[in-house]
Symmetry: C2
Subunit: 460 residues, 2 copies
């Protein structure tokens, strides 16, 4: 069996061959822990991830007796590296460094993932150390204070990067007050106000057996993985025989969006202005996601894309220009980025908008459609050579989509997209309210030109 496979939470065991002859297996342990593996023939290494479906969107605003917990998910992620009852921070670091493994974590808007990439022989060690970190971190009060300083420096670094700042502001501009609109790491104010109690509470509430999803891709044997994991979690004090039910997935219904500011300007005395122009997009479960992939490939991904050809190749206005379409459970975005000289901001925003309008009015050619299918297929095939990509695909299948699509199935859906589908999607996008974010050097005339270019059509 291969193609698209449903991952129903009630089913304990599932096993199938994916395209390219890898073997995908999924088990739900009695404790509620979910385990997904993809064994890739010939692989000599593996990537493993420990996931929970908790991200910055789940943090709480100021409430009775407590400040906002914004940033606490990311704060917790840092603290999991700072030591357990049995391992110091140095022990954890040494475990992976001594074998040349990669080892890190990622806090996102809807999930948190702790991962490692190691040679096959080191996978049992990775299971053990990650299980220890996940279950038994101390969140030592002294370490908490030290790490607060580290996180403030991380936020300062991101705040000094104009493209980073533009990206953060773009989310809040398009999504307004929706929790997905907030920055992942919190703000310096919420980090200064964070308490160990709140982060501890977050840890206790969300890092339980029924929250944990473990995904492994590469050189992995599913049965051995489960044995190693059961042993490691049980050694760490978890009751693996106590029955648990995996937590339900998030709602997939689009949330109503209250619009953020139409034009956001962050002045910086630098050379470029970083421009982001965009609209609300599609949710992750939207059936038009394959059409969105095709649209984005044709419109703003790669050197042959319309934005690259028009803005960079023909006009020389920007070095970096592209579009992107992130999707979450109940909201999404479609955005266009360009970094340019401040006096060109009006021209560039007008170009970005008019290229999207042109797509909505005139659609795409058969050649562009065929090329997009080839582009998405080839790029996916290359990406899947890396076990990182496969490990993440398993996590997304379990946490976000509720189904596993192998490469053949994903490409089958892409191949079904028609020129009409792409045009209709573009027409839908241009009917949504535009937001513009400008971070960097600003030129007043150019920016008011940019605002006009966008507001002229944002109620089309």
């Amino acid at each position: 069996m291969n193609g698209a496979v449903d991952l129903p939470l009630g089913l304990a065991e599932l096993s199938f061959r994916a395209a390219g002859e890898s073997l995908v297996r999924r088990s739900v342990l009695p404790s509620g822990v979910r385990v997904l593996s993809e064994q890739v023939p010939g692989a000599r290494s593996a990537t493993i991830g420990f996931w929970v479906a908790v991200g910055s969107r789940d943090e709480q605003p100021t409430g009775a007796g407590h400040p906002a917990t914004y940033g606490s998910t990311h704060f917790l992620e840092h603290l999991l590296f700072k030591g357990t009852a049995g391992r110091s921070a140095l022990d954890i670091a040494v475990s992976f460094d001594a074998v040349g493994g990669e080892h890190n974590a990622l806090t996102a808007k809807e999930h948190t993932c702790y991962y490692a990439k190691v040679q096959d022989r080191d996978l049992p060690m990775a299971v053990e150390v990650l299980a220890d970190m996940f279950t038994s971190s101390l969140l030592d009060a002294g370490e908490f204070e030290t790490e607060r300083g580290v996180i403030l420096e991380e936020l300062a670094m991101a705040g000094d990067d104009p493209a980073d700042v533009a990206g953060e502001r773009f989310f809040s501009a398009v999504l307004g007050e929706h929790p997905l609109g907030r920055p992942i790491g919190g703000t310096p104010e919420t980090i200064r106000a964070a308490t160990r109690d709140a982060v501890w509470e977050h840890y206790r509430a969300n890092y339980r057996p029924q929250d944990l999803v473990v995904t492994v891709a590469g050189a992995v044997d599913h049965d051995e993985l489960i044995r190693a994991l059961e042993r490691a979690l049980s050694d760490a004090g978890w009751r693996m025989d106590e029955p648990g039910t995996p937590v339900e997935r998030r709602t997939a219904e689009p949330a109503p969006l209250e619009r953020g500011p139409e034009l956001t300007v962050v002045e910086r005395p630098i050379e470029q202005v970083n421009l982001l122009v965009g609209v609300p997009g599609l949710v992750a479960s939207d059936e038009r996601r394959p059409a969105m992939s095709v649209l984005n490939a044709i419109f703003g991904s790669g050197m042959s894309s319309r934005l690259f050809q028009e803005v960079r190749e023909r006009r020389g206005l920007a070095y970096s220009v592209y579009s992107f379409a992130p999707a979450y459970s109940d909201a999404g975005l479609f955005g266009m980025y360009a970094g340019c000289a401040p006096q060109k901001a009006g021209t560039v925003v007008e170009l970005l908008r008019s290229e999207l309008e042109r797509l909505a009015e005139h659609g795409v050619t058969p050649e562009e459609l065929a090329r997009a299918a080839g582009q998405l297929g080839g790029a996916s095939a290359l990406a899947l050579e890396d076990s990182d990509t496969r490990m993440s695909r398993l996590g997304r299948a379990e946490l976000t989509l509720g189904e596993f699509q192998d490469l053949d199935e994903a490409l089958r859906r892409i191949a079904l997209v028609t020129a009409d589908d792409v045009r209709a999607l573009a027409a839908d996008l241009v009917s949504r309210p535009y937001s513009v974010v400008a971070v960097g050097a600003t030129d007043e005339a150019a920016l008011s030109g940019a605002a006009e270019a966008v507001s002229a059509t944002s109620v089309a």
Copy 2:
């Protein structure tokens, strides 16, 4: 045969098995074109690179009747994507995008490389398109002007990134007037002054058969590759039967260095200060390079390294902190980076320096030595799973080192490094003149503390 293999320029054919059962072959074609391939069993894709041993260091200062050509190597690299007699810029982009390939180029201080990563079936296309770009680019005058704008935006983007700026300044601080000290992309002034004639001259002078090195790793058959390459280059108008001799490698003698400024401060109204502290390092051919790899792993690479543990884990002073040791034919650097709050600059510089002093005085433990060997071995094994890494390794072997080392041989040399070797190297480093670069928010007291911390020992 495997291990370390000399790559003498006079030998037309060489073939050997490298560690991990890949097959490495090298041919020198009658025209002087060099071809190296590494066939990796089971690979389904390949990475190909077209190299010349010309980089920013080879550019000319202002001379009789011409402005400085600084940045012309990078300018030329951009122009090779802009069209040939038979292919427009869009044609080139479409060729790779239509198959989802990666396609880009890299200008460095001592070489330029045009590369692509594609599925196995697309390798003949990649050979053909890269050969066309390499031999037959038009450098159209109109495209030249458009691309000047793109490159100015690229420089502006880099200039807006404080860590990028710190890196550029660090090279000129440590290497002084040495040509390796110059920024790769030139400056806005030299790009504005660049003429098509000068870039054309650069192209004609340095992109000849005897300059070209083609390296391919992954799913590749050496004989087929040579046939495809001979055909593509000959179709493009090159006389492949006209005998040529590959250009000699660069000198490997360390050049005398005139010291740059002791303290370089670039003020920016941002939150962090980006600090770089360092000294001249080792040239690429220095027999102490394996000891430098071990030193750098222990000192500043990975979460268990001394810098990470001391500056971030124990003190919480920085989010990003590490050391690095780039090596070129006749000069090298050893540097330490940290981004921190401006008022901590003095403390951090003092810490970086004193940690290096401690290494020079007290050396490393047997555990650290063993861990470094494991770290370098494991990380290399993981990196070599990617054909990109293998393709680059072949290029470095041919252009810089004059020998090919497989993983086993590289690790054998690492295993021979003793604690004394590391301590002696550290002692040598701390005896060299320190340079400090600070880019970002500055605190006068902290910076003068930083300068003192360094000058106190820089003539030890």
